[in-house]
């Protein structure tokens, strides 16, 4: 997916980081088992967050195993796998497939088309297993596409469509926590969309592609406006998180929600400031 939902590692204890990493390794393993090596390439930390969140909320039975893998052929790594790992892997693949198709249509990158077709088989399996979710993803991606064509500048509307998609990913099942999870996913999705637009604005300007911030970009106070919006999204997401009865892994989850999600933002911001002073 996007890679925005990550930890702020220097602020973490080793023990916590290892635990986080073991869910990530579990996701990697599940992707390979469920969707093959091609599927494995879609691995992302975003989904590791969801798996950790759902595992902490529902506290399911979790298998701990030691894995060697392509990245670490000589050392074994602990991998944690449970029912949410399987769910997260499927959602990851579904989203990646749609994103590849989207990139192909947008930028005509052939690699994306090849990637999408290599994921096709797994995609059909998963879309059939979660027909409701696949339908909602498609519908909202269609709306996003229309916004792009119409050159929409409506922050809430455009990012909200991606929010609807993430909301659906977070809503694992119908129960008493569904509303809270949906709320988290919705605002996290809005955050991701805005963050992505913020990061790509210069690139899109050069390429003449659509970007939500194209007009605002050179205006006074643009940075402040974006940061305020991003901050609001994470505030709503985190508020919903704090209402959930989670007592395990809270340090890791809070590290991500209150700090990790800002890593890329700070990086992009600092880079831009430096470019300005260089000129």
């Amino acid at each position: 997916m996007f890679g925005y939902i990550i930890v702020n590692k220097p602020e973490m204890k080793f023990k916590e980081f290892d635990l986080y990493q073991s869910y990530y390794c579990g996701l990697c393993k599940a992707l390979k088992d469920q969707s093959g090596r091609r599927g494995q390439l879609t691995l992302s930390y975003d989904m590791a967050f969801l798996i950790l969140l759902l595992s902490s909320l529902y506290e399911p039975e979790t298998q701990l195993s030691c894995q060697k893998c392509v990245a670490h052929p000589f050392e074994k790594h602990p991998a944690r796998v449970n029912q949410f790992t399987a769910y997260g892997a499927d959602m990851n693949l579904l989203l990646s497939y749609y994103k590849c198709l989207d990139d192909w249509e947008d930028e005509h990158k052939l690699t994306r088309k090849i990637m999408a077709s290599s994921l096709k088989k797994s995609f059909h399996r998963i879309a059939a297993a979660y027909p409701g979710k696949a339908g909602i993803f498609q519908e909202n991606l269609g709306r996003l596409r229309r916004c792009e064509k119409e050159n929409s500048k409506d922050l809430d509307e455009v990012s909200g469509y991606f929010g609807n998609i993430m909301e659906e990913v977070f809503a694992w099942r119908k129960d008493e926590w569904e509303a809270g999870l949906r709320r988290m996913g919705f605002f996290l999705g809005k955050f991701i969309y805005l963050m992505d637009a913020f990061e790509d604005v210069e690139k899109d300007k050069k390429a003449g592609s659509y970007n939500l911030f194209l007009e605002d970009y050179n205006r006074e106070g643009f940075g402040q406006k974006v940061e305020q919006a991003l901050n609001m999204m994470m505030a709503e997401c985190s508020r919903a998180f704090e209402r959930l009865p989670i007592v395990e892994n809270t340090e890791i989850l809070r590290n991500i929600l209150y700090s990790g999600v800002w890593c890329r933002y700070e990086y992009v911001k600092k880079n831009r400031e430096r470019n300005v002073t260089d000129v």
């Binding site: 393993k29 992302s44 790594h77 929010g163 508020r239 009865p245 800002w262």
Partner: protein, 232 residues
């Protein structure tokens, strides 16, 4: 009077952490899955529902306590899986009474929009508001609430700011504007309590971070399993 704290075996001074822990241990005990062979499983299920409701009630009360007084906000909004209004404590006692400005057409519309908001039908409220030509401070105020109700938090803040600027003496508008701003400021404070993700680290480190992040992009091609550290 029913005390949700008692249902969890707590007193009102319990910390949020204690509430969550108490809920967890009780819900493990009474969860239907844990009582399949229990001869009194109906009672266990009753109890399970009770602690669930107690937990939700406590969390709601605490949030509303933190954000002002509460009047029963809209509920049962169509197509909403959550009720945003609920999270704002019913907008601090949103009464929704249209201004009695001579009973003209505008105020009738505003009344309709208020009614929609009160019953949690935020989209319908926005439709009504969108069809009005006259846009006074009250209009922006209602627009802010309805937008907040459907998760359009950026627009909600803008509209609330407009209402507050148009009628600086109106406490209702000021209160809503302040509340929407506060929604972000508690988070901002908490965010500051963590070390900055980037400033502490050197240039080389940052490049490494990005290289690592890039590997984790969708279809980035390099997303190897357990790709080491997510960033330095």
């Amino acid at each position: 009077m029913y005390d949700p704290y008692a249902a969890l075996g707590l007193n009102r001074n319990a910390t949020e952490e204690e509430i969550k822990k108490a809920y967890r241990s009780l819900s493990r005990k009474y969860h239907p899955d844990a009582n399949v062979n229990n001869p009194n499983k109906e009672q266990a299920e009753e109890k399970f529902k009770e602690i669930q409701q107690a937990y939700q009630q406590i969390m709601r009360e605490r949030e509303q306590g933190a954000s002002g007084n509460y009047s029963q906000g809209g509920s049962g909004g169509q197509g909403n899986y959550w009720d945003f209004g609920d999270f704002f404590g019913g907008f601090g006692g949103f009464q929704g009474q249209g201004r009695a400005s001579g009973g003209d057409e505008g105020s009738a519309y505003q009344q309709a929009a208020s009614n929609y908001i009160r019953s949690g039908h935020y989209r319908e409220a926005l439709n009504v508001l969108g069809s009005m030509k006259e846009r006074d401070a009250r209009w922006h105020y209602l627009c802010a609430i309805a937008n907040s109700g459907i998760g359009n938090n950026v627009a909600a803040l803008e509209e609330a700011g407009r209402a507050a600027a148009m009628e600086p003496g109106n406490p209702e508008y000021q209160q809503l504007y302040a509340r929407l701003q506060n929604g972000g400021s508690w988070y901002y404070d908490r965010r500051q309590s963590y070390g900055s993700p980037i400033l502490g680290s050197g240039d080389f480190c940052m490049k490494l971070c990005l290289a690592n992040l890039a590997c984790n992009f969708c279809c980035g091609g390099g997303g190897l399993c357990c790709g080491g550290v997510p960033y330095c």
